[in-house]
């Protein structure tokens, strides 16, 4: 009784039409159907944060969302944020501060950090820690990641001043 469902959505600003089985989650849809493999899949139960993407401007776990639930939505992946230059400074700070090692968690970390910086212009370390608390880094880059996010917040604040 499980039949493909037609969906239409925007992915990184591009209109996409597809037929998907209900069980396909958004992470697999992005990776397998659209070959956007920047969205990583770790735990598939919402714990690790590697699959974080933006849906209608808000971060979500793409492993806990069905592709069919993205009908009519605007999805942004790390490829979109990267190509538009929106997170270029954050990416540079991650490189400079050694905040990425194997890079598995990095797309999710970048999207989550950018989400915080959009909401709070100068978060303190505690706020950064809390906002990133749902993202695992197996390479234990946590301190370096905090440093990178904090440094980016500072340079953005200086640029605005």
């Amino acid at each position: 009784m499980s039949v493909p469902v037609s969906i239409s959505l925007l992915v990184n600003g591009e209109p996409i039409d597809a037929f998907v089985l209900p069980r396909l989650n958004l992470a697999d849809f992005l990776r397998e159907n659209l070959k956007l493999t920047g969205t990583h899949v770790g735990c598939e139960h919402g714990v690790c944060g590697a699959c974080t993407v933006r849906v209608d401007g808000e971060i979500v776990r793409s492993c806990l969302m069905l592709a069919v639930q993205a009908q009519g939505a605007s999805v942004e992946t790390i490829e979109g944020l990267s190509d538009s230059g929106e997170v270029a400074d954050l990416q540079a700070a991650f490189r400079e501060r050694n905040a990425l090692q194997c890079g598995y968690c990095t797309p999710g970390m970048l999207i989550t950090a950018q989400d915080l910086l959009k909401q709070v212009s100068m978060p303190d370390r505690q706020a950064i820690r809390e906002h990133l608390s749902g993202n695992y880094c197996r390479c234990t880059g946590y301190q370096a990641i905090l440093d990178a996010v904090e440094a980016t917040a500072k340079t953005r604040a200086e640029r605005r001043a």
């Binding site: 469902v5 697999d28 974080t52 806990l64 749902g134």
Partner: protein
């Protein structure tokens, strides 16, 4: 792991969702935010034949103040509770609690209805609605039912809902004059499920509690409205009386053993939270000092 195959239906109205549930019985599962259902399906703990997606039902979302209650639609998301001026004014306990529910990306999709229907005993919002003496509004084939929060939770992941019913809203009495609240939990990491937590509502007048409701969570198979609070109502709270209440609390708890804590540790932490709560709400820090005796 991936979810097993299932059929998918996007409900177009509450009535339509109820028809779909009636047609498929317990082979159907309601999908709200998916933040508990999807992990369970991905782990193959659940494999419904059909998923009824109620996510698009705008009629189930948002807040309304009606007389002395704040009505919160079932699909209202955690992030909406955090940011809502109505919640901050009328039910600040929910705002304080929801900051501890999971992480931002999960709070952007998880809903209050889903959290209450899921009824994880370590969950924050069930204990809050019990402490707040809220009413859960449910709709089914026979119409609407109103269930007191204290009677809604039946056990681990078990509620008074039947498979053909939808939780549609929660009614919370608005915070009256002199109401104060306390929320705290112990968790391994911010956003993790609590090891022990307490959501409390009190009315304080002349240095005494005239009303005091303690909603403990992660100390049993469901949120617990602790009767130990009764000892402290309309009484002059002394260190001795508080110690008696703490002993009474330990007796009524039935904590589970798990990787996070032993029952003895949970009893101890619950007593610490009780003391902290009483000291904070009565603004008498000396009462908390008793905790480390």
């Amino acid at each position: 792991m991936k979810a097993a195959a299932f059929a998918y239906a996007r409900a177009t109205s509450v009535v339509n969702a109820l028809e779909l549930l009636a047609a498929h019985g317990d082979k159907a599962k309601v999908l709200s935010g998916g933040q508990s259902l999807m992990p369970a399906m991905n782990l193959r703990l659940l494999s419904p034949d059909i998923v009824v997606d109620i996510g698009g039902l705008a009629e189930l979302r948002g807040f309304a103040v009606k007389g002395d209650v704040l009505v919160i639609g079932a699909l209202t998301r955690h992030v909406d509770l955090l940011g809502s001026p109505e919640v901050a004014l009328h039910a600040p306990l929910l705002r304080d609690a929801v900051a501890h529910v999971a992480h931002p990306a999960i709070r952007n999709r998880g809903t209050i209805g889903g959290s209450l229907a899921h009824a994880d005993p370590a969950s924050e919002l069930p204990a809050c609605v019990v402490a707040l003496d809220a009413t859960i509004i449910v709709r089914g084939p026979a119409g609407e039912r109103r269930i007191a929060a204290t009677r809604f939770f039946k056990g681990i992941y078990e509620t008074a809902l039947s498979p053909d019913e939808l939780l549609v809203a929660v009614e919370v009495p608005v915070a009256g004059q002199g109401s104060t609240f306390f929320f705290q939990e112990y968790a391994r990491r911010h956003g993790d499920y609590a090891i022990v937590g307490l959501a409390a509502r009190a009315v304080v007048a002349g240095g005494r509690f005239t009303d005091f409701r303690l909603g403990f969570f992660a100390v049993g198979d469901r949120p617990l409205l602790a009767t130990a609070a009764d000892k402290l109502i309309n009484a002059s709270v002394t260190a001795v009386l508080l110690a008696e209440a703490a002993t009474a609390l330990a007796d009524e708890l039935d904590p589970q053993e798990d990787q996070q804590a032993s029952p003895a540790m949970r009893r101890h932490l619950a007593a610490v939270l009780l003391r902290r709560c009483v000291a904070a709400l009565l603004a008498r820090p000396e009462l908390e000092a008793g905790a480390t005796r």
